[in-house]
Assembly symmetry: C3
Homo-oligomer: 210 residues x 3
């Protein structure tokens, strides 16, 4: 199994996790029908990569023109539809899969941005956008304030993973081990954030004090 | 009247219908002023085509750079503003015009995607995105869960029309008759859905049972 | 100081104002944490230019690939975070800065669109989109109906400023004085709108009369 195949497998795993997660969120938040779940699952799974590819000008977006991503995303959403009754007991597994998707997408997003000639700061931001973009579109569509803006550690692990990936690419140490290390760092920060309910600091009160 | 002229006329008719519909939705959902109605009508009418053209990389978007689309979309929104008091009695006509726009856009969207070299599955999805995209942006802007996710048969007729168009292009039978047939199929499914209040199946209950 | 440097300075001033404004809106509307404020401030400051550059096909977007915009936007959001307790007393200053950003972005947006070969009507619309786009995305993300659709004179001054810029470019009179004049016209209309609480006309009642 070559490095490319490994990364593709991991990328498709993340796509599957996000599609499941998006479709389930859809049915919980807004009682969507099967088409709504399919659409929301696919948007969640593919949205981050689409936004990234629009911003770097790589059109049509790879996750859109490559049938494997479309197929995996649709399959994940359909699985969520048919198993939605039983998915509650797998809540932890789905949350871990979502963390895995976040971790893989921040790394692949950052490296794709660097390959297209963007600067390191832009690549880190694009990595984070790839990771959180799909979930943000999902939340907007079902009428929620995007989780990335308000809750827990979500953007921070993605920024950390993307930063490690960019630094290792710039220092010439990038490869499958570095990519996996960056993804693993993101995953661990995210899981610790869930486990200990960590949050980024909030601003001091700005509403009327009384 | 050549085929191109016919298709353009139909496309502009769909644009007009969506602009009317978007502006009326705006004034009903959020008490918009004239600028808000103009903006929302134009976004509804042009949004689907803009999203399609961004995704296939045909920038600037045709519906944006072609003054005819801009003019028709603005005119539709202004008509809705000045006649908004009387438009309630034309509710059915507006809904039928919206169905016509949906039908025409799914076909023209799918054929444009195929012409730009995308695969058939991607072309079907892009046809549906062209048809439902403007209304989705409209709903997000006025704070509603997009109708396409939750209510009745809306995406399904668009997917059906786009599929017929793509199949007939691939088999070499595409032309004005096939395009109109595909649009007509979409229109009939949509109108039957409205008439008999049909809905796509929903997932089994996933909320807490008690 | 050359004209280009002057315009860049003004553009970065607008970016700073929008970043401050976006981050403060974020903490008021949705109790965002520091990452949420940073994200919302940057989206507000850079979003309009990003949408403009996507629509004219100038990818990656200038405001995204140019580190100065990213830095200024991030700095503005961080200032808002650390000073959020004290910012209430500067409400007027922030509103004026927002009006300045609106004025500068509608002019720079319109001239960039003309330079990329779009027609004058499209350039006026793109100037307005550049000016109001960031705030619109900000409002959608925190779950509000975008201010541009509903409240006061916001799009009209942007359209006026963009129109003056486009006319002066087309008549060959464009330069720093014309650009500043166009921005000033937008600024004055906006400030008069705030001062006298002016609103665009609304449609006659369309809800059920009783």
């Amino acid at each position: 199994m070559t490095g490319t195949t490994l990364l593709l497998s991991l990328d498709l795993t993340g796509t599957l996790a996000f599609a499941l997660n998006g479709a389930i969120t859809g049915v919980r938040a807004a009682r969507l029908d099967i088409i709504g779940m399919l659409a929301l699952g696919m948007v969640t799974a593919l949205g981050g990569g689409i936004v990234r590819d629009i911003l770097i000008g790589a059109l049509p977006p790879a996750t859109f023109s490559d049938w494997r991503y479309l197929t995996v995303a649709a399959a994940g959403a359909l699985v969520a539809f048919f198993l939605s009754k039983h998915l509650r007991r797998y809540a932890l597994a789905i949350e871990l899969a979502d963390a895995a998707g976040l971790s893989l997408f921040c790394v692949t997003g950052a490296s794709k941005a660097l390959e297209h000639g963007l600067g390191p700061a832009q690549a880190v931001i694009l990595g984070a956008i790839t990771a959180v973009g799909g979930g943000t579109v999902r939340d907007v569509l079902v009428g929620r304030v995007p989780a990335v803006l308000t809750s827990g550690l979500y953007a921070i692990p993605a920024l950390a993973g993307a930063t490690i990936a960019v630094v290792s690419m710039r220092t010439g140490d990038y490869g499958v081990p570095a990519a996996l290390g960056a993804a693993l760092a993101c995953f661990l920060i995210r899981v610790l954030g869930i486990r200990y309910d960590l949050n980024a600091p909030k601003a001091r009160e700005v509403r009327n004090p009384k």
